[in-house]
Symmetry: C2
């Protein structure tokens, strides 16, 4: 039987075994310049032998840096945010940061504040907000937080700093595609009201429709789910003066198609449907979905780069918007 392990080895244990002072060990750990190579090697060997791990708490205490990045995300498990989140984690880890995630209930104002408080209580050094809603900025201003904040998918002009896919351009791409096919009555199924990206996509749609001098139907507000797409699809069947629908994400597009097919309509024969996001399943929907692709992972990586540049003031950041791309598949066609 092993003796009871009383306590993890500390920097002093390493120092004693290597025959140097604790400060020398500290210098090796933080690779300080003036350490004799032989000394460094001896210290590193002892560290390896006894399995020493620096105590993060002690480090954080004395440097008052937690090396933690907080991520605020929505509770719902959408593809885009999740993909960005993974990319954020990877990028942060590569830069020596730890990521602590917390989710807020969409639509609950208290939840945003509470989540931000939770992150601040952990002394995060910076915050990334994924898929932000207007409300987040309000809460942020209200709390007067003292750490840098970066947002994803936000094109809000008043955001402290944001890294975004050009949602407006993406929406225009999809809308123009439908217009060029010859559609003159296009309906937009938008995302929830206070979501900034939903707002941007809606704006892109409206601009493009207006530019083409088409009649503007007021966009319908959805909640990103396929269920809502399905319900809205059913309602739309009531009035037939449209030949195409542009949904603000792929899931709602799927629901729409379901409703149309179920009613005996042909997609894209009777109605064209375009989505947004290009989730991995979109190419296997029936019919395969025409949609707008955005690089969620790249977005996450850039967000971290942007945050780090504010934290460490070193790296130059590519601050341009990520450009989305139209992916043509089989759910859109010229009107009959």
């Amino acid at each position: 039987m092993e003796p009871t392990r009383v306590r993890a080895p500390s920097i002093r244990d390493v120092a004693r075994l290597a025959g140097v002072s604790y400060q020398t060990v500290s210098r090796v750990l933080n690779d300080s310049p003036s350490i004799k190579p032989s000394t460094r090697q001896r210290v590193l060997q002892v560290i390896d032998e006894i399995g020493y791990r620096p105590n993060q708490a002690a480090r954080a205490l004395v440097t008052s840096k937690s090396r933690t990045i907080g991520v605020l995300t929505s509770t719902t498990a959408h593809y885009g945010p999740t993909t960005s989140l993974r990319a954020i984690e990877d990028a942060a880890r590569a830069a020596g940061y730890v990521v602590s995630t917390t989710s807020m209930v969409t639509g609950d104002p208290g939840s945003v504040t509470e989540s931000l408080e939770h992150l601040m209580a952990q002394a995060v050094e910076g915050i990334v907000v994924i898929a932000p809603q207007v409300r987040v900025f309000d809460a942020f201003r209200e709390l007067a937080l003292t750490v840098p904040l970066v947002t994803l998918d936000s094109t809000a002009a008043d955001s402290p700093r944001s890294m975004a896919v050009d949602q407006v351009a993406g929406a225009r791409l999809a809308t123009r595609h439908l217009i060029e096919l010859g559609h003159e009555e296009i309906i937009h199924l938008a995302g929830p009201r206070d979501w900034i990206e939903a707002e941007a996509r809606m704006h892109g749609f409206l601009v493009e429709v207006r530019d083409a001098d088409l009649r503007t139907h007021p966009p319908i507000l959805g909640d990103w789910t396929a269920d809502t797409g399905y319900r809205v699809g059913h309602e739309l069947l009531g009035y037939r003066d449209f030949t195409a629908v542009f949904a603000a994400n792929d899931q709602m597009a799927l629901g729409l198609i379901h409703a149309f097919l179920e009613a005996g309509l042909d997609v894209p024969g009777d109605v064209s449907v375009a989505g947004f996001d290009d989730i991995p399943e979109a190419s296997h929907y029936w019919p395969p979905l025409t949609t707008v692709r955005q690089d969620f992972a790249e977005l996450g990586r850039r967000a971290v780069a942007l945050l780090l540049s504010q934290l460490e003031g070193t790296t130059e950041v590519d601050h341009r918007q990520v450009t989305p791309e139209l992916v043509l598949r089989s759910s859109t066609a010229p009107p009959r």
Copy 2:
């Protein structure tokens, strides 16, 4: 202009302003029993006034408890794991723990070790592994980690502790459903080889098929993606001695259906397809997908409860497997 904030208020600042010793403040913070109500109130008021926040690093240093739970997940953004993850975060937060997530590249052995090291370097008090692969346990044993580990979706007998949906039962439900419809040639499109849940579903399928004295086709190994389902679907079209396919998840089922419909087959007329997971989109696939529903969120909550019971030795945990449920839709029917 505000003067430069030199340093965050500490417990001593609170003590001075409240006219008590720092120890008294500490007691209030950890709600110790013997504090005069009037004193407690005075201290709390000062805390509120100056916006004091306990320094987690100092706390962690002295208690040698980080109050952090590490979560190890796969890089790919699947619905199930993501949903469980959100539930884990919520449950952990409710219990006063912080969650730090890290992802491993599926199929890369080094990545598992590296991710575990990363979590240990943060001094996490416990680890939850989502969607584990056999390899994780190997790495875990190898590192001889000193914190409790809980796994999700694992029915491996040798896991330290696991919280699972009864995958075998779920697979049997789906398979039996196809058999009862009259199918005699059923193919199983399984998940990747070393995924424990893939193994379990495959096992459930084989048991049920054997019980019914049907001819056993060797399961085909997939990678959970719709793309693979599509490719396999195409290959299957080569030999027609099957009337039904049971896919190990919904995405692969979607890909299969895509391949079949594209080839002019009718689903479920010519081929029945059943999936697993019941992701929110499954009911809007065309045709709506018959699948097996599992409660990912409940799984996450129970995993945290299990972990906390090991960390704090208090709560009694419901350790039964979560029971999955068959959801009948339109992608399955009797064979022609």
